[in-house]
Symmetry: C2
Subunit: 308 residues, 2 copies
């Protein structure tokens, strides 16, 4: 089934303890779309870039079945740019540069051919922009998923609260969940956040895996114990892309199927961090993805016996 992805298509410059990149292709929308493209060939993206953005990247997205009709190219303007440096533990980073550029006044125009999509993934953007997308779709998608970040909690809390009321599933990390709920306990945080609107909630815990909360169930997906995390940039977006891509592929929004989607997202994220930027996401094979999903399975798998 069809998937609409909304999110930044941008430039990043990344420094990790393992090396440094010049400007490379990044952006939440890019990571989500690339990751989802392994699961669905019917994907559309809404975004905005400047005239400095390479046409070949847009062509590459197209070759992966992603319609780029909804990517506006702003003449005389520059693409969103982010530069950051990871600390030695790879769990925290400093933002060195944020140039909003074309994102500053992003008006998310939905091409007519994008109407009636089955699923919607709202990558991290201003909550007012995310809301506009929902409002501009004539038919409500079967499932609306949304990412956000601390920044919007700080500067656009009311907007954020209005927007999350409209989505079915929120996908955030543990730090964001704590800030959003003002609760340290993740279980308590989840309860509070779900009371704000979304029926489902995924809390990503990085190297500690991810939790999926439903109205009355919890599912936990581990992370692989990786020896090296080369570059964590985009791992969260790649997770979201794998999740929603899997949902779009199967067309099944049951909690049972969301569990499998979480594993698919985790597998994709575990590949993403192996190389800089989107590099590893560019040429995965189906066999590699299947093998990784199997690895996640064996990590937690055991035969139950009568214990006491």
């Amino acid at each position: 089934m069809s998937l609409l992805t909304v999110g930044s298509v941008a430039f990043d410059a990344i420094e990790t303890p393992f090396g440094k990149t010049d400007k490379i292709i990044g952006g939440a929308g890019t990571y989500i779309a690339l990751s989802a493209s392994y699961f669905t060939a019917d994907q559309k993206i809404v975004s905005v870039v400047g005239e400095d953005f390479p046409q070949e990247t847009l062509n590459d997205l197209k070759s992966r079945g992603i319609s780029v009709e909804g990517i506006q190219i702003k003449k005389g303007e520059k693409t969103f740019f982010w530069a950051g440096k990871y600390h030695n533990d790879m769990n925290s980073r400093d933002t060195l540069v944020t140039e909003l550029n074309v994102l500053e006044k992003f008006d998310p125009i939905i091409p007519e051919s994008y109407q009636d999509v089955d699923f919607l993934m709202l990558g991290n953007l201003a909550p007012s922009v995310q809301r506009q997308v929902i409002e501009r779709l004539k038919t409500r998608p079967k499932l609306i998923a949304m990412d956000t970040m601390n920044f919007w909690m700080d500067i656009a809390w009311n907007d954020l609260m209005e927007t999350i009321k409209l989505v079915d599933i929120l996908i955030i990390n543990d730090e964001e969940a704590r800030q959003m709920s003002k609760e340290y306990s993740i279980a308590k945080a989840a309860k509070k956040i779900m009371a704000m609107g979304p029926k489902y909630l995924i809390i990503k815990k990085g190297e500690h895996g991810a939790l999926l909360f439903g109205p009355d169930s919890i599912f936990f997906a581990p992370a692989l114990p990786l020896e090296e995390v080369f570059d964590p940039t985009g791992a969260g977006d790649t997770f979201a892309g794998g999740f929603i891509g899997y949902i779009a592929r199967t067309g099944d929004i049951s909690f049972e199927n969301m569990k499998r989607a979480v594993i698919a997202g985790s597998a994709m994220a575990s590949y993403c961090v192996e190389k800089f930027g989107t590099e590893r996401l560019m040429n995965l094979s189906e066999d590699e993805i299947t093998a990784r999903i199997q690895k996640f399975r064996s990590l937690v798998n055991y035969q139950l016996e009568h214990v006491i």
Copy 2:
């Protein structure tokens, strides 16, 4: 099969954001033995207390099938005492008081009736004392498990290195694994530590679950997303007790069975933190334990389908 537990039987005074205790019963040996007693009725303990230690607690341990013949009672001396205060996040604590007392010159005497035990659990103690216990057993147990802590890495590194060579499985937390290996990545840390001797390694990650490493396999057990952690004291020892108790009950030291033992340990630890000190461990029912183990199972359980 029979289990020998070695570890402190002591007094604790605990302060958490939820409240404060006077001197209550604590000690690694106590938590391990109580936890293991739900799985095996053939347990022996080696420890030392002062004459201030209540006879009724020793009687209580006896009533749980734990032989206390190996608990030396030192006339005119005082029991080991620890006081600590947990921070608001419950993940870190300050030690307020450590009075070694009888532990200062602990000579672990093994009663003749304790010889030929099947399994040995060495709770956190000076590594030289842990080694003495191994050396004083005439027959090597089928599996020797050992806990340790940062403190011994700081002041008794060489002793520690000699002792871990003699054990089959080391059970430590993530912070300890990082300090021991000087590696931040848990996967790398595990490799280095296993090269120091133990064939198996469990790394406990508190609210993030636990990893079991074997010669060529990894198993991950989640932690339950608890709304309240009332008091984390003894959770690690309770985990170890549940693990080794399950091994003793089943007599099976295969990696497959160790996985189940890790789940048993995780279930016991999840109960331990619900109340102050050993309180919750004092009166669990078999039904409660079975239900909790089932809960761990459903947390990670999903039906695999063909994904891509």
